[in-house]
Symmetry: C2
């Protein structure tokens, strides 16, 4: 889209700049303290799960359906009913599921650690290799990139297209380079772009021909049931099955958690993968722990019951979140629509809106927002090593704040984007 | 003690053997299914903590004392009040404490993993070294040894004496060999011997002069408040403070959990260590997770309040456990006392009784017990690599079973010990 300020004279731009600066100063003087930086559920969302706390009082039954005392040691890989619930949510089978503690990030971290020290299904431990590489669709999730950076794994940017990562590039790297051991994916309502991988993209993932026997797709389906309009949920192919059909039965690790369904950080998380991978993971897990919190598993099963229970619950989440995402779109359209100063996503689910400024404007925008009392995700955070090559991507996280706060934050954001863009244009004139 | 069968003739021994075999067969015919293999709390113990489930219902306050919403992300290292409670139990200060999930074993595993891949406070990652060694007081805890074995760390047996590990050997290894990076310790009511390290031993630990800058004492004080007679608790020196005074401020990692205080596997666990170590651990932890289950932390704080609350609670545990441990002593004394066929510990706390048969009799004893329907911890499990050089140590875990089951199991055990010992003597005659 054409930048509507492009044809203005230096004087006209300067005048505009002064106007915007006045507006910016007036915002600063409000002394706001807003935070739309992280994908946190709001108070209202958390209240939805409060009845879960009442599913296990002291006078209630604490046994699992198999008669396991959930208050004692045992059941390393989780209660059967918890596996069933998770399998339901993850669209796979209970025998493919291991239930962990409260964080799916922790599962991913542990898998990479295990691969570093012990390899994957008997492959060479990665620390013995001259180099290990991961493909990183960008923009992506900062905490994914932090794990691979921590282990010195070389990250390769893969552009995110409309329907998923650039599969031509992915196929090339994966099939040609045996040091490419993995790829980070958030296949539905991706963080931060909201992208839903197309069927075509998913099928191409399943049909990859990796040069490395221990290449794995880290399929972090964190937002699988986090639709903004539950009457029109997006559905993508189930990758364990697809990989199996394509002759790559062990190529995918799927992740999910209830963190943004029940309580963030106090829920249950899971890995779903082939039975051979499950066996491989257990060989490590049984050394690491005696078993995870089964009481919390029982609470989740009692409260959510099954996929229907989860979907009914997510409908209520959607009702809270939809107006917030709509507010973001409204303000951005009103303030920046048609200006050509930025593009942004309009997701159908997930927790984020991804905004691209003109090249070279993201860092300054985030800094000026902070000075005006509005915290955004750090510019660059959505890229490996924190380096956005074009310095243009900004992640907006509208779930936690109140509706009027979001409107206000986006109003200020729009002002700052305009101001920074025009200042940049003036510099370059 | 003299073996009273030693002077019997071959015929007398054979007669005795036949008698015992008849007794053994009669036990077998009972078709029992008893298990005294693992240190699990009993049903009655678990019931003590049921009111904890009522400390957070849906209509109750879910905020921490600092106003943190325990249902949302945040507070990576734990709630302040949870750190205070843990510090209280661990006899240290809240700033030395990090609260984790439900398993202290998992913390130990993660620390060893981190040391393998990233070293300790900037030291060379262990996987880059030609070899890494750990000292292992024996008999000891099988799950400790499993971790070091998993990482290919060479384990060196250190005899456990009356008042703790053989410190002369420990000092020699630690001061002379820079590849010795750690030692596994359960300093109070040790697993399985029940040993309480003496002040002298603790002070010698604090004053070690390690050849390796990244040597750490893995001080797993799992049974710190698990006294059998709470009116006479054993108290040992606090090692973070002692190490600090001795000029080794960062030499110890202390571990504890509520697994055998509240619910096994569904409680909270902690690391206590120097502030410099805390910082080092956080550098890894912040990559691994967003934070652990704070709702469970809040429940524990509300139910136990402080050290006094914990001690009152542990008094009730002791009242349940004491008769079980007394029963073990009674039966063993009655059946094997004065025979010279075995020696055993009489612990003042913890979860185990350690039994030594005559050399070469442990494996066969455990196998014959299993055939009679009584599961014991595998012989050898209390030694690195599962190898008990003298094949004599057997761990008895009397906490989980009912009193009459324990008596019966120990009665059968005594019969089998006698039978196996005499068969062995016959072989050697």
């Amino acid at each position: 889209m054409k930048n509507i300020y492009e044809d203005l004279s230096r004087e006209e731009l300067q005048r505009k700049c002064e106007e915007l600066h006045k507006e910016y100063v007036s915002y600063k003087e409000l002394g706001l303290r807003l935070d739309i930086s992280r994908g946190k559920p709001s108070h209202e969302q958390l209240m939805l799960s409060m009845p879960m706390l009442d599913t296990l009082h002291s006078d209630m039954d604490y046994l699992s359906e198999e008669g396991i005392d959930t208050r004692n040691y045992g059941a390393l890989t989780g209660l059967s009913e918890a596996k069933r619930l998770m399998a339901d949510v993850m669209e796979t089978r209970p025998e493919n599921v291991i239930i962990f503690c409260d964080s799916s990030l922790n599962i991913m971290y542990d898998l990479i650690t295990k691969s570093m020290t012990h390899g994957v299904m008997g492959s060479t431990p990665w620390y013995r290799l001259p180099e290990v590489k991961f493909l990183c669709p960008v923009p992506g999730y900062d905490r994914h990139f932090a794990i691979t950076e921590y282990f010195g794994i070389k990250m390769i940017n893969i552009p995110m297209l409309e329907d998923g990562p650039d599969m031509e590039l992915v196929e090339k790297y994966v099939s040609e380079d045996p040091l490419v051991k993995g790829i980070w994916c958030v296949p539905k309502y991706s963080n931060p772009t909201g992208t839903v991988y197309s069927e075509e993209v998913c099928f191409r993932f399943a049909r990859l021909k990796p040069a490395a026997e221990d290449f794995r797709i880290y399929w972090d389906n964190a937002y699988n049931v986090h639709h903004l309009d539950i009457s029109r949920p997006r559905v993508i192919p189930e990758l364990i099955e697809e990989c199996c059909l394509a002759g790559n039965p062990d190529m995918v690790y799927k992740f999910a958690s209830f963190s943004k369904i029940s309580f963030a950080g106090s829920s249950i998380a899971a890995l779903a993968t082939s039975e051979a991978n499950v066996k491989d993971v257990i060989s490590q897990m049984k050394i690491q722990t005696i078993g995870h919190n089964k009481i919390n598993q029982l609470r989740h099963v009692r409260f959510f019951v099954d996929r229907i229970g989860v979907m009914n619950h997510m409908r209520k989440h959607a009702a809270i979140l939809r107006p917030k995402f709509e507010a973001v779109q409204e303000v951005l359209k009103e303030e920046l629509g048609g200006t050509g100063l930025g593009t942004w996503t309009d997701p159908e689910g997930g927790y984020f809106v991804s905004f691209d400024t003109l090249p070279g404007c993201a860092k300054k925008t985030v800094r000026m927002m902070k000075e005006a009392g509005v915290v955004l995700t750090g510019a660059g955070a959505t890229f490996p090593y924190g380096i956005d090559p074009e310095d243009k991507n900004i992640r907006l996280a509208p779930t936690y704040a109140e509706l009027d706060e979001i409107r206000q934050a986006l109003k200020i954001f729009s002002c700052v984007v305009k101001l920074v863009s025009i200042e940049k244009m003036l510099e370059e004139k």
